[in-house]
């Protein structure tokens, strides 16, 4: 376990010291600032607009880190052969993958957590602690979404080039969010091919549509427990599947 922790700490250190992380933070802060300005422009729904755009800023930051870091996480190690020295030590390939993965997850947690605190402050919610559970659950759903995308992109990067892996990850993100709308249109169109295609998509894409709770921060009792349980199970399943597939392919990969 300590080896995974050592690798995760090193990966986190790498990300924090690379300039790309600072760019991600700047973009996230700019988006949060923009959401604050947009909220201020509105007469009636200031808080709602601020919350919507604020959570979207957090989502984009997490997604950006997952896509870019995930696509190059193993590919860069293999291309630059920096993994050779690590794997010559008593470290298995599975431990290596988990260490790298946890490093990026830690970075996402730090970034999304910090942005969440800023948004909480901008929304002025410190006087309304009863809204904290819903706020936290929305944050958790965004974190889970970014974690699943990260796991999938790492897997994609082992079978295709990093740029394609990045594109595939973004496509999964979009499809995952469109699943509900696609099902609705398929039902209305009554075209068999369309209906069957959407059914297949439900099996091969994580369902992000059902956990899109960004506008629900005002719910005093938080998100229904059943929904949270479903989200945790669904996301854990997808993450585990992606990690197992990554491990399967990486174990068989020749590092030439």
């Amino acid at each position: 376990m300590y080896k995974i922790w050592t690798l995760a700490r090193t990966t986190l250190r790498e990300m924090l010291r690379e300039k790309i992380f600072m760019v991600a933070v700047l973009i996230a802060v700019a988006l949060l600032g923009l959401s604050f300005l947009l909220g201020a422009l509105s007469f009636a729904e200031q808080r709602k607009i601020l919350a919507d755009f604020g959570f979207m800023a957090i989502q984009i930051s997490g997604l950006g880190i997952s896509l870019f870091a995930g696509a190059y996480l193993l590919a860069k190690e293999i291309e630059k052969q920096t993994c050779l020295l690590i794997l010559s030590r008593p470290v298995s390939r599975a431990q290596f993958i988990l260490g790298k993965l946890f490093g990026v997850l830690a970075l996402n947690t730090l970034l999304m957590g910090a942005l969440g605190v800023v948004l909480w402050g901008l929304l002025g919610l410190w006087n309304e602690p009863k809204l904290f559970p819903a706020f936290f659950e929305i944050g958790l759903s965004l974190w889970c979404e970014s974690a699943v995308i990260l796991c999938l992109v790492i897997f994609f990067s082992l079978v295709v080039r990093p740029v394609l892996a990045l594109g595939a990850g973004f496509m999964v993100f979009l499809l995952g969010h469109w699943l509900g709308d696609l099902a609705f249109f398929a039902e209305k169109s009554q075209e068999d091919v369309f209906v069957q295609a959407v059914k297949v998509l439900h099996w091969v894409t994580p369902n992000f549509y059902r956990m899109n709770w960004k506008s629900a921060y005002f719910l005093e009792n938080g998100i229904p427990f059943d929904n949270i349980l479903w989200m945790l199970a669904h996301m854990t399943g997808w993450a585990l599947l992606a990690i197992l597939l990554t491990n399967f392919f990486f174990r068989r990969k020749d590092i030439v």
Binding site: K3, Q81, L84, L85, I86, S88, R89, P90
Partner: protein
């Protein structure tokens, strides 16, 4: 006892859609005696790096057996082996000291007992003690090679495997690496290093493995090899000629 034995190693890289498969290792077998310095010599593309990568399981051989200290590669045997790859691309965002600590933690976990003493010893050995708190990004090529050697000797391994440790270094750098290897020899470490520079072999080795086109042409004592052919350069070209004539 042998520190490393390789038996009938074969590896073929699958070609692309319109490419032929490349059979890069053909029944490669050799044995490294304990406490000696063994050279692994061959032209560029002869299969030296692929063999070394197979030894560490970076590349999966199609067939063959590899034993460290009489056993297959395990976590325990990995702690007894130090390794330096051909191009030591390292984590450049780390400082020299952080880099050594990373490798220490991967071998011994959280325990830092002896770490500072060993790290300082290794850094002084490669003349990088003053640069230990600088990021690797600021190191020159020679310094990177030396910090790579420092991590290889950090855990005081019984066997050191170095892939082209002197390639691309200036004369001073090469002399320094040779001095480090001689020190390790004195400590009784078994050394195995690859090179296509025959002079390095003559200076440092007592045992030799010659490889050409993925086949081992010679595995034995350097002196008897030299006695037969006078110079390593001549021997290498004669052996290569014989082999290629056969092919």
């Amino acid at each position: 006892m042998s520190v490393l034995s390789i038996e009938k190693l074969n590896k073929t890289f699958k070609g692309g859609l319109f490419e032929k498969d490349r059979h890069v290792l053909r029944d490669v077998s050799f044995v490294l005696p304990e406490g000696q310095t063994s050279g692994f010599v061959g032209s560029n593309g002869a299969g030296k790096t692929t063999t070394i990568k197979c030894i560490f399981d970076f590349i999966r051989p199609d067939s063959g057996q590899i034993h460290f200290f009489g056993k297959p590669l395990t976590s325990e045997s990995k702690t007894r082996v130090g390794y330096l790859p051909e191009r030591p691309y390292l984590y450049e965002f780390l400082t020299g000291m952080e880099f050594l600590r990373l490798h220490w933690n991967l071998c011994y976990g959280a325990s830092l007992k002896d770490f500072h003493e060993r790290a300082h010893e290794a850094l002084k050995k490669v003349d990088l003690f003053e640069a230990k708190d600088r990021r690797l990004r600021t190191y020159s090529k020679g310094m990177l090679q030396r910090i790579g050697i420092a991590q290889a000797v950090l855990t005081r391994p019984d066997l050191l495997i170095l892939d082209e440790p002197m390639s691309g270094l200036d004369p001073d750098g090469r002399a320094m690496v040779k001095d480090i290897l001689r020190e390790e020899q004195k400590r009784g470490v078994s050394l195995f290093f690859s090179s296509h520079l025959l002079q390095d072999m003559e200076e440092l080795c007592s045992h030799l493995v010659v490889i050409n086109r993925g086949q081992v042409l010679y595995d034995g004592v350097l002196n008897s090899f030299m006695a037969e052919y006078q110079s390593l350069e001549k021997a290498f070209s004669v052996l290569k000629g014989k082999e290629e004539g056969r092919v």
